[in-house]
């Protein structure tokens, strides 16, 4: 029974992960991500970590991916992307190296570790049993790990400040913008961006100009 549940959810997780990579449309990729998060939640249930499973769905699927979708819609990039263009130079090769080393690390742990990575068969084992997962988690969080909990609050504050800075508006009177020149500048840059790879170097400029435009409007 456990093995069957594990295999099914592992398939769900892996197809979701592959889908995120392969999907051409950012919204589809986000949906595949939700699928992966779901599969992971089922795996958590399998490990008796019921609270974590619910939180996985509530926070990741319910809030973080919704934020992704808002950002996708916000930027208006919700149509199929051309995967041939690499927006950040060198990103893909670095990603490949990091991915390969992660895989190597995982395989090493699996092959070398005798009784699994932590030795614990259930997520709750260290807290003393499978029942009453939430209560045990609460007791552990607010006694042994209380410092980490308070740090999380600090982290959230930092995130909020970051969001406000990102979404800031220009203060003071708005200058009438030289619309024509801006439009022609972005237009020409866009054309070159689709044309050649050299555009990645100048790729920042149209983005910045588009930002100014957004703030003015």
């Amino acid at each position: 029974m456990d093995a069957a549940v594990f295999i099914v959810s592992a398939v769900v997780v892996l197809t979701g992960a592959a889908g995120v990579l392969v999907a051409r449309n950012p919204v589809h990729a986000a949906l595949f991500l939700v699928q992966t998060l779901f599969g992971v939640a089922v795996l958590f249930v399998l490990q008796d970590a019921t609270f974590l499973a619910a939180v996985q769905v509530i926070v990741y699927a319910g809030a973080v991916v919704i934020l992704f979708l808002f950002v996708i819609m916000l930027l208006g990039v919700d149509r199929a992307e051309d995967l041939g263009i690499e927006p950040i130079a060198g990103q893909r090769s670095v990603a490949a190296i990091v991915g390969a080393s992660m895989l190597g690390l995982l395989l090493t742990v699996l092959l070398v570790g005798v009784d699994g990575p932590t030795g614990a068969r259930g997520a709750n084992a260290a807290l003393g049993g499978a029942e009453d997962n939430t209560r045990r988690l609460g007791e552990a969080l607010f006694t042994d790990h209380v410092f980490a909990v308070e740090l999380t609050a600090l982290l959230l504050t930092v995130a909020v400040v970051g969001a406000v800075v990102l979404a800031r508006r220009v203060r003071g009177p708005l200058q009438p913008m030289p619309v024509v020149t801006v439009a022609s500048a972005t237009g020409s840059d866009d054309a070159s961006a689709t044309g050649s790879d050299e555009a990645t170097a100048t790729g920042d400029d149209p983005a910045a100009e588009a930002d100014d435009e957004g703030e003015a409007g």
């Binding site: 619910a54 769905v57 509530i58 319910g62 919704i66 029942e131 009453d132 508006r169 203060r171 003071g172």
Partner: protein, 414 residues
């Protein structure tokens, strides 16, 4: 086990959240019972949705001084069935500019969570005992499933339901559905936060996330609505109504502005499934409210023979009161404006429920430590007032800055 009971303290019972039916090994007979229970719950939900739609139309008609559905069946009671059958015979249109895969997926994402939420609602069982009934020699709960994190299951599913609405609008490739769905998803996540904070107060008294345990701690009229000081209940009601996109918070499908909202492009059965999910959510939200705050199926058992009927009756009566309330709201209140909606959610309900949670928590801790409660309440209320002052200061500052910006912009124009 002893560690749990000593740590629990406060008279909280360390209850095993598990249906006795499924506690041991599972053989084919038990699977049969489970399937039977699920099918009964499923049918019950569908029939009650059918009656709910009819009831809503009839009651709104009465409040509007109209007749309402009157042709299909006695008092038009089969109207919903007739509508449903009609929708099977309608052409299923998929817009040219839609994202076909997501367009087809969205109704499932709305409907399936709506069905699943009902699984955690205890609809009967004698809670003066251990809340079980014995049928055909098997002891079981009168609820489909009792996961140890029951209420979180509900919250998780309602966050999935946001996807149904959001993707339906986005995938339609049409502007009004898109506007409706962006509005809807922002509204639903906003009020989900208020909903979650209101529920947190319930966990203080119940000491468990399982719906069965939450009902079990509310026996003998010791309902959470009073034990948590009414405010969380009111916040839950408002936030629940907004979460359901029911009037007066139905901006999602504001016909005058958005044609039909996120499901404008949906026709035939796909529309029917959205419609079904919407009304199913009304029923399950009422049932959850009853479970969390009004003692679920608990109530006096008046006869010995067929004693299991009474809890089901009490549960139905309580749920019906909520359903009536939802219809009444729809017939009475005009729709909110979007900024009013957001202000109510973020600047009133969320801070209020957070402050109230901390107040009740402080009172309970003070009680356990043996301090006098009155000073704690005074300090808590003072803290909440301070918070409210800070918050309104922040609102005033933001508003003043926007005004200044506006003046500056107008200066450019003139």
């Amino acid at each position: 086990m002893s560690a749990v009971t000593t740590l629990a303290g406060m008279g909280d019972r360390a209850v095993l959240a598990a249906d006795p039916l499924l506690r041991g090994d599972i053989d084919l007979g038990i699977v049969g019972i489970v399937v039977l229970k699920v099918v009964v719950a499923f049918a019950l939900l569908l029939v009650s949705v059918m009656l709910m739609i009819w009831f809503e139309r009839k009651l709104v008609a009465d409040m509007h001084n109209r007749i309402g559905p009157a042709v299909a069946g006695p008092f038009g009671i089969l109207q919903t069935l007739a509508d449903g059958i009609k929708l099977f015979f309608k052409e299923d249109l998929i817009p040219d500019r839609s994202d076909r895969a997501v367009f087809k997926l969205a109704p499932y994402l709305s409907l399936v969570p709506a069905f699943l939420v009902f699984a955690i609602v205890p609809i009967g069982g004698d809670f003066s005992g251990d809340g079980t009934v014995t049928w055909f020699g098997e002891r079981t709960y009168l609820q489909v499933a009792d996961p140890p994190v029951g209420v979180l299951f509900f919250l998780a599913l309602s966050s999935i339901a946001v996807y149904g609405v959001m993707l339906a609008g986005w995938s339609s490739g049409s502007k009004y559905p898109l506007l409706g769905s962006v509005r809807a998803s922002a509204q639903m996540i906003s009020y989900e936060a208020a909903l979650g904070l209101a529920i947190a107060t319930v966990f203080l008294t119940s000491g468990s996330l399982s719906t069965h345990d939450i009902v079990a701690t509310q026996v003998e009229g010791n309902w959470n609505v009073l034990a948590t000081g009414v405010v969380p209940f009111l916040v839950f009601l408002v936030a629940g109504t907004a979460e359901l996109n029911r009037p007066p918070f139905d901006l999602v499908e504001a016909e005058q502005e958005l044609v039909g909202g996120f499901h404008t492009e949906y026709s035939s059965l796909r529309f029917a499934l959205f419609f079904l999910a919407e009304f199913m959510n009304v029923i399950t939200m009422s049932a959850i409210a009853v479970t969390l705050f009004l003692g679920g199926p608990s109530g006096p058992i008046l006869t010995d023979t067929l004693g299991w009927v009474w809890p089901i009756l009490w549960f139905s009566v309580k749920v019906f009161a909520f359903l009536f309330g939802f219809v009444w709201l729809r017939a009475t209140l005009p729709r909110f404006r979007y900024d009013q909606l957001m202000d109510l959610g973020w600047k009133v309900l969320i801070p209020l429920s957070l402050g109230w949670f901390l107040l009740i928590a402080a009172m309970r801790v003070a009680d356990a430590e043996g301090w006098p409660v009155a000073p704690v309440v005074v300090v808590g209320l003072a803290g909440m007032t301070l918070g409210a002052v800070l918050l309104s200061g922040a609102v005033a500052k933001a508003r003043a800055e926007r005004l200044a910006d506006l003046d500056a912009t107008e200066g450019v124009d003139a």
